[in-house]
């Protein structure tokens, strides 16, 4: 059945591999996926080590519902200590790798050590081999997946892999599977690179028995209808995530020229409708009806004829608005380059936009850039810089270090131009008009990010009864809620609710487009409970899933605190407070975050979490969540995956 998958402990230094059952108690306490990863990382990682230390664990997992009749149950989660932030590293990707990992018999891989030479893991029907990767080391992400299929003589193999950027220890290198599914954030690709682990290839033909097949089929149909009956899903089915830009750019909620403007003026060339010129069809992850990205062929320039997938809203910002480029082809090519090199598109775009602002202000000069004119809207320079970052050439070598380290190397006050939290750059969204979104990026457990706790539906200014229906459950919250997105009041609750909702989703392995992210009518806790029951037989109430998500999120918080996180890390760059927005509709124009109100928001947020004034989970909370032994100063099990 869906619960008999194993956890494998893999020591790359010694080649030792141990396979164990996943105890049912772990399922009841952490469900699986990201939640169980958090537990395994906290339990097994020595505290305070460098992310590139061989002792740093990498967790790769498939959630409890992956491969089953949950809607879009495709997600792979990867967790480790981040080389970008020195805090929690965590990334999530779609595709077909996670289901294949389960069909091959495993739910969780705990990997540590460092292979003496480049290797890859070959996982097939309960077996795990460590194999020589010398023939694929150095290859780009597209070609190496094809090469692996040829080498292992099976076209159905699914691979999680790193590109040249990961090999070169770019601190925001991603892991990928397929043409575009990327676990992009926090530099997980660099951690694999530091272990000489190029790829994990999977192939399985083992049953995932569905507990109640008839009911699960019926319920899957209901879930799918619930998701694709919403307007936002239907729009995404047609255009992919780039549709978001139409609203956010015209409102003035988009970072442009790093952080100088909040709208790309005259930016219609990069509207999603233009994709029809290059699209050859849409593409869905495993079992997904939303199919949110395009398959496209680049039409112009030196990359004409190249087939790639996407681009996402994130790439539209990274190679469009942030760097001031109003050219769809630059986005298409940039997206292709980061995917084939294995770079986080979002961090890459942010680092480049930052470098361009430094160039504009004379902090970087032609001497630093080897003559590359880092001027706003310089399409060629943007594409050239991506390659330089991936190969760590010239200025790229500095940018490859990520925001804080690069700012330290460059000096000259460059740090104040960064748009980051905890050392990770933000999406191209501009949160100055939206305190709830600002709180989300300030407090997210992996740094500035839109998929950790973003209450995106706040942007719809929904009527209060709709918000109440979503945000008062499943624990009966009776505090304030407000519907205007410029408000501060009642927002900490919705950030915390989204945090736990996304944690629950990541435990199941479903996609966030199938929960309350872009629509208030999408599945959440009650639906998760039913879906888990029909597919696995495990019974949870919606409130129990909420509590589990809270437990897992608290463990992530404890991990960060153990690595030195303090209250001051839950804060925004000064620019959010000091530079009001210059463009946009009245709801977005002349907005900045109010320091005093924002501090009060953080207080309220900590209070809701039952964290103390310094953001440390209280002993009472840990007792309540049945993880009292995890108290930062308490006894902690150490050692190799006990």
């Amino acid at each position: 059945m869906a619960l008999n998958r194993k956890v494998a402990y893999i020591n790359l230094s010694t080649g030792e591999i141990r396979k164990e059952d996943i105890p049912i108690e772990w399922r009841k306490k952490f469900i699986g996926g990201r939640g169980l990863d958090a537990y395994l990382l906290y339990k097994n990682n020595p505290s305070g080590i460098d992310a590139f230390d061989p002792e740093n664990r990498v967790l790769i997992s498939a959630g409890i519902a992956v491969g089953t009749l949950a809607s879009a149950s495709a997600r792979t989660h990867i967790m480790s200590k981040s080389p970008l932030t020195n805090f929690l590293g965590s990334a999530n990707m779609g595709g077909w790798f996670a289901p294949e990992l389960r069909w091959a018999g495993f739910d969780h891989l705990v990997i540590w050590g460092k292979a003496p030479q480049p290797v890859y893991l070959w996982i097939h029907n309960g077996e795990i081999d460590i194999r020589d990767a010398k023939d694929i080391w150095g290859e780009n992400l597209y070609d190496m997946q094809t090469l692996l299929r040829q080498e292992l003589e099976d076209n159905e193999i699914q691979t999680l892999c790193i590109g040249p950027a990961g090999e070169n220890l770019v601190r925001f290198a991603n892991v990928m599977t397929g043409r575009k599914n990327a676990g992009g954030r926090t530099g997980m690709g660099a951690v694999l690179g530091s272990k000489n682990l190029k790829a994990v290839a999977c192939r399985g033909t083992m049953d995932i028995k569905i507990k109640y097949p008839e009911e699960a089929l019926k319920y899957n149909e209901e879930l799918i209808n619930q998701v694709i009956s919403t307007k936002v899903s239907q729009t995404m089915q047609r255009w992919g995530t780039m549709f978001i830009y139409g609203t956010t750019n015209s409102t003035g909620l988009i970072r442009t020229r790093n952080f100088q403007l909040n709208q790309l003026v005259g930016g219609s060339n990069i509207e999603c409708e233009n994709l029809d010129k290059v699209s050859i069809g849409l593409d869905g992850c495993f079992g997904c009806q939303v199919h949110c990205r395009h398959r496209y062929i680049i039409k112009d320039g030196p990359y004409a004829g190249t087939y790639a997938q996407g681009p996402e809203y994130t790439s539209q910002g990274a190679f469009g608005t942030e760097v001031g480029c109003n050219n769809l082809n630059t986005i298409l090519v940039g997206n292709h380059l980061v995917n084939s090199c294995g770079l986080d598109t979002l961090e890459t775009g942010s680092m480049m936009a930052w470098a361009m602002e430094l160039y504009e202000n004379g902090i970087l000069t032609d001497k630093d850039t080897d003559g590359l004119k880092l001027e706003w809207g310089n399409d060629e320079a943007v594409l050239e810089l991506i390659k330089k970052i991936a190969t760590r050439e010239g200025i790229g070598d500095i940018l490859a270090e990520g925001p804080l380290r690069a700012a330290k190397k460059i000096g000259k006050g460059s740090e104040k131009y960064l748009v980051h939290v905890k050392g990770m750059s933000n999406l191209h969204s501009d949160e100055r008009p939206t305190p709830s979104l600002a709180l989300g990026i300030a407090t997210g457990s992996r740094g500035s990010d839109h998929l950790r706790s973003r209450p995106a539906i706040d942007l719809y200014n929904l009527p209060l009864p709709v918000l109440e229906k979503v945000y008062r459950q499943p624990d009966g919250y009776d505090g304030p809620l407000t519907s205007g997105y410029n408000e501060y009041e009642g927002k900490p609750r919705i950030v915390m609710w989204q945090e736990l909702c996304y944690m629950a989703v990541d435990c199941t392995g479903m996609c966030k487009y199938h929960t309350v992210f872009l629509s208030p009518n999408h599945p959440n806790f009650p639906e998760f409970a039913k879906m888990i029951y029909y597919n696995t037989g495990l019974e949870f109430t919606p409130k129990e899933i909420w509590d589990i998500a809270n437990r897992c999120y608290t463990i992530e918080r404890l991990f960060n605190i153990r690595e030195g996180l303090t209250r001051k890390d839950d804060w925004l760059a000064d620019r959010y407070f000091d530079e009001p927005t210059k463009l946009g509709l009245p709801v977005a124009y002349n907005k900045s975050i109010d320091r005093k109100k924002f501090k009060a928001m953080i207080d309220e947020y900590y209070g809701l979490h039952k964290w103390d004034n310094n953001g440390v989970p209280t002993p009472e909370l840990l007792k309540e969540l049945d993880i009292a032994e995890f108290y930062p100063e308490g006894d902690r099990e150490k050692g190799e995956g006990k």
Binding site: A2, G67, T68, L69, W96, P99, W103, Y142, Q145, T146, G178, R179, T205, M206, D207, I208, K209, I210, P213, A216, L217, N220, E221, I224, I228, I280, G281, L282, D283, G284, C285, F286, G287, C288, Q289, H291, R295, I297, Y307, Q309
Partner: protein, 161 residues
């Protein structure tokens, strides 16, 4: 009127939900290797094609079967296996030009599409209708209409509309 399964590769997004629901319906387990449909993907080109039994009129699987275990069910316009007669020789697996006849290791028998007795789940769950279940005798009219659209537009232009 008899229906048929019709595949439109241009609509397929490659999600493989058809494989999942097929295997759960027929085996109670999620396992594409036991499904009767498979989306073949040419990932370097971005081309996806769901492959499944065509329920051929002159079915090679039926021709090679030494025990006449494979028969045509006229009512549902489908090719079926009579497992009481099947000896598991797998000649049909070798003979099928589409690879649509599989062998299920767990059940130790050949497997193929049975159009879910008239309500194919692959169709029900595919909102793109990359696999559709349509009237065999009239299914081509839609294609004709699509193919003639260019002419219609040209004619409209010619008439100055």
């Amino acid at each position: 009127m008899a229906k048929m399964l019709l595949v439109d590769y241009e609509k397929c997004t490659g999600c493989r939900l058809c494989e999942l629901v097929c295997s759960v319906k027929h085996t109670g387990a999620s396992n594409p290797s036991r499904a009767n449909v498979h989306v073949v993907k040419w990932e370097d080109e971005g081309f996806y094609l769901p492959m499944l039994c065509q329920h051929c009129l002159e079915a090679p699987c039926r021709s090679v079967c030494p025990t006449d275990a494979i028969y045509r069910d006229e009512e549902l316009n489908r090719i079926m296996v009579d497992y009481d007669l099947c000896i598991g020789c797998k000649a049909c697996v070798a003979a099928c030009p589409f690879g649509a006849m599989g062998f299920d290791e767990a059940e130790k028998r050949v497997i193929k599409c049975d159009v879910c007795d008239g309500d194919p789940l692959c169709v029900r769950f595919c909102d793109m209708k990359a696999i559709d279940y349509v009237e065999a005798t009239t299914s081509h009219f839609d294609k004709m209409r699509d193919a003639s659209r260019n002419f219609a537009e040209l004619m409209a232009k010619a008439h100055g509309q």
